[in-house]
Symmetry: C2
Subunit: 230 residues, 2 copies
Amino acid sequence: MSATLYGVGVGPGDPELITIKAYKTIEHAQTIAIPSAKDTCMAYHIARQLIPELEQKTILEIPMPMTKDTAILEESHKKGTDMIAKELKQHHNVVFLTLGDPTIYSTYIYIHKSIHALGYSTCIINGIPSFCAAAAALNTGLVEKDQPLIVIPSSYPVENLLTQKGTKVLMKSGRKLPYVKEALKSQALQAVMVENCTMTNEIQYRSLDEIPDNAGYYSLIIAKEDAVNT
Amino acid sequence: MSATLYGVGVGPGDPELITIKAYKTIEHAQTIAIPSAKDTCMAYHIARQLIPELEQKTILEIPMPMTKDTAILEESHKKGTDMIAKELKQHHNVVFLTLGDPTIYSTYIYIHKSIHALGYSTCIINGIPSFCAAAAALNTGLVEKDQPLIVIPSSYPVENLLTQKGTKVLMKSGRKLPYVKEALKSQALQAVMVENCTMTNEIQYRSLDEIPDNAGYYSLIIAKEDAVNT
């Protein structure tokens, strides 16, 4: 019997935004991989609130440093792949917890690809993406009718896409906020921001003027064609 | 005590992709609104597989015709708003079921806005968007690193955004497939398609050449910068 690596999205923060499928997959697993140490891992913290038995499971702490240094990243992905492959080789399924959805800017996807390349079975179980949760927290929709939805990561030059029609979502802008705010202003776009969406420390900023110059890593800006508020 | 309209996303098709929060909200509700007749309503069909007690609840069938005729749409939204407001006025919470996520191209959002404008309390409970589920079904990620995610609805001219960097998702292309395929070819983009994602009749098309000229309404194309398959 061959074992499987499950990449499971735990959603944006509220433990009840975990799907039934993710819940069952985590509950049945014996070995759980997480992308940092237990104490600091947001995905682990979210899942544990729903599934306290997580504390009795084997936890593989995979070092996933937040860096753009390719050499460091490759080394940590290789180490993570080795740790997980060792478990799979012993026919233990592994459940890798990741914040939001595994298909959207997740660190999990690198491990997924390398484990898949080694010939092991892999499976993605979706979570609620942070931008959907941010719109819900603001009690508004993201896109309607013929509006495109354009999600822009912080490392991409935002000007290239801000001129396009539709709703723009700027992910993880945290330290780049002065630049992002300037770019939005120059396009005469209105915007709102949600920090730590659905977490207990969620903060909403209802206009571009309210948005500060510095915010945490889990900050997300929504700029709509029309007014954002319903 | 005032009543609330809950817009609840049931995800793409697999009932287990419903979140714990959506499950509890549906389970506790007495009045359920659905965007068509019970027999043909996909969102009702999905939720009922997980929550058979749905059959004992009061079901409001809100007519939501699939048309671009503004007069017909406005009339049906007005009728739906009246039906729901009548329940809220009697202090009955209403749970409106919608496919995928309520913030992304959902018919629910029009009712949400008009009920909110009448001064009633409204609440959005997220579901897994179809494009995340399609990537998971293909066992691949959607976006990594600095790649933007560009979601394009079928009614938008796709050429305007296909030249942009990042992953392009083309929603509900069904009857426009010959035009969409031509536009993708002219940009030398590779693409895959998932029809009826996570439903029992899911079909995957692994290359542009495999994609037929006609497909059902729930068809979704993913065009990535690099090869889509892991």
